[in-house]
């Protein structure tokens, strides 16, 4: 058995609000993510999904229970830098995570912090930029790039640290549809190369592209399964204030109206196939 990439055991995160009341941002969450998985975490604003993601990279530590990354406990300070090297994070605002005024310098930032020798850094930087398809922008200033390109630079910065896992906290929220597609294409390809990808998003069409969907609501884990098993629970998702892919919703509503469709439709192709079999 390989070591799980991430393992949470009855993990809670409690903070004090303005009135000094203890509030559970996350409550009793247990889950395990294996190396190579492609996971989406969805939930409404304020559901706790970003708080959850920050635990994977030790930007936060559990108040109760444990969080282990590659078998290392995140509350043990000795593990801090090893974990951060293993798990890279991409944040929502592409402007606020680029450190250097030249793309390749920014990609080099992580490995420089890790003390990697200069020649090795150069090699890693050019390799990372190639993998996110940004090689021709190596010498550009980041303020001249589009949002999607900036996020790809941020991803390259993590690849250059040779992280095994990338956690993306709403990486596409501030992007236009083209930028969104660029980012999704890039992370899908990286996942195919074996990197564990965890994406927090509120775009359902992005969650559908993953292999596993985790639903967080009021700090609690509400659903965890394949996109198919999650997105066919149309009523439950709607009552949590979440969207579902258009094809799932159409299929669900037609079944309510008495059309005998199977209960596992989440894509337009599946809906088309099922409707053809009716006719």
């Amino acid at each position: 058995m390989s070591i799980p990439m991430i393992r949470l055991d009855h993990m809670s995160h409690i903070y004090e609000d303005a009135e000094g009341q203890e509030v559970y941002a996350l409550k009793d969450i247990s889950l395990q993510i294996e190396p190579g998985e492609f996971v989406a975490i969805i939930g409404t604003n304020g559901s706790g999904k970003s708080t959850l993601a920050k635990h994977f990279n030790v930007l936060l530590t559990p108040t109760e229970g444990t969080c282990k990354v590659c078998g290392m406990r995140t509350d043990d300070l000795d593990n801090l830098w090893k974990i951060r090297q293993q798990v890279g994070m991409v944040f929502q605002n592409p402007d606020n995570q680029i450190v250097a005024a030249i793309v390749e310098e920014d990609v080099a930032f992580g490995p420089e912090n890790l003390g990697v020798p200069p020649d090795e850094i150069k090699h890693r930087v050019s390799d990372a930029l190639k993998r996110v398809n940004m090689t021709i922008y190596a010498k550009h200033g980041p303020h001249l790039l589009s949002g999607g390109q900036k996020q790809r630079v941020a991803i390259a910065g993590i690849l250059a640290m040779q992280s095994q896992c990338i956690v993306l906290d709403e990486p596409t929220a501030m992007l236009d549809p083209i930028g969104r597609r660029e980012v999704m294409d890039t992370i899908r390809q990286l996942n195919a190369e074996g990197i564990t990808v965890i994406i927090i998003t509120h775009f359902m069409e992005e969650a559908v592209q993953t292999g596993r969907v985790i639903v967080i609501q009021n700090g609690e884990l509400k659903m965890d399964g394949t996109p198919r098993s999650v997105f066919t629970k149309v009523d439950a998702l709607k009552s949590m204030g979440l969207d579902v892919p258009a094809a799932s919703e159409l299929a669900f509503k037609l079944r309510e109206k008495g059309i005998p469709l199977p209960g596992n439709i989440i894509t337009k192709e599946e809906l088309g196939d099922a409707l053809c079999q009716l006719g």
Binding site: N57, L59, W81, R84, Q85, G88, M89, F91, N93, D95, N96, Q97, I98, V99, A100, A101, I102, E104, E105, A108, F109, G110, P111, E112, N113, L114, G115, V116, P117, P118, I121, K122, V125, G141, P142, H143, G157, I158, M161
Partner: protein, 266 residues
């Protein structure tokens, strides 16, 4: 538009000067600036002029940049000239009321203004041919020996790097907030000085809030990327001296020695 301002005034190029090590350029520039103050004869000024012109030719930058570098400081140049012309005692060549111009004044004024112009032009050559990042790197390296006496060389350099990185972003943000408040009837361009100052609040508060938010985000992002200060950190582009730097330093040294000799020994 605010975002049109080019920063650091770096003009990318491929000349001999562009390829010099930043440390050599910084030290060379400082040395030459000192040398400029040695000059006090016509011959010495000719040498200085020749050296500045030669460097501009080597840099392959358009000549109009010389004027561009002087433009922001023309008031100081004119002021310097004026002060010397009108206040130096000596042979009066022209008089009007209490104002009088002396031969010595003209001489002294031209000398001081000349030095000032050469100083500005030559140091702009440094920023024109060196990217801000490389310049920062050079400064960090030059400050490194002073770390033992408590100069935070790495931190200073990191601060400069981040400032350079965020200036375009914050300019864009300023433009946006200004427009948003203008759309709500704010007026940034007219009224008394006091009124105008007060009118800046709707711009400055959101700008500061935003800058702090960005700083907070950036700190988190840097931590997530294993940043823990300068200790144990390596650099992708290490600085290294080449034969070019040797040539450049020798040239500057030579000029300095010649100017010093002209001043004190001839």
């Amino acid at each position: 538009m605010l975002t049109d301002i080019t920063l650091g005034q770096y003009f990318p190029g491929n000349s001999f000067l562009h390829h010099l090590d930043p440390r050599a350029k910084i030290i060379g520039t400082m040395m030459f600036i000192v040398a400029i103050f040695f000059a006090d004869s016509l011959l010495a000024y000719s040498i200085v002029t020749a050296f500045v012109v030669l460097n501009f030719i080597i840099s392959r930058l358009p000549a109009k940049l010389i004027l561009k570098s002087l433009r922001p400081l023309w008031i100081i140049i004119v002021f310097t000239m004026g002060v010397h012309i009108f206040t130096t005692p000596g042979d009066v060549v022209w008089q009007y009321g209490i104002l009088h111009v002396t031969r010595e004044g003209i001489y002294q004024g031209s000398r001081m203004t000349g030095r000032l112009i050469y100083l500005i032009v030559f140091s702009s050559l440094l920023t024109y041919t060196t990217s801000p990042i490389v310049l920062t790197d050079g400064i960090e390296h030059l400050l490194n020996p002073f770390r033992r006496i408590g100069v935070p060389a790495h931190e200073l350099a990191m601060m400069m790097t981040i400032a350079l990185r965020f200036i375009p972003t914050l300019l864009e943000e300023t433009d946006r907030i200004m427009k948003a408040q203008t759309a709500r009837g704010a007026n940034f361009t007219s009224g008394s000085l006091w009124q105008r100052g007060k009118n800046m609040i709707p711009l400055l508060v959101p700008l500061f809030v935003s800058a702090f938010r960005r700083a907070d985000d950036l700190a988190t992002a840097m931590e997530a990327r294993c940043y823990r200060g300068g200790e144990g950190r390596t650099r992708m582009n290490e600085l290294s001296y080449t034969y070019r730097d040797g040539i450049a330093m020798t040239a500057v040294l030579l000029v300095t020695v010649v100017l010093a000799t002209l001043r004190w020994l001839v």
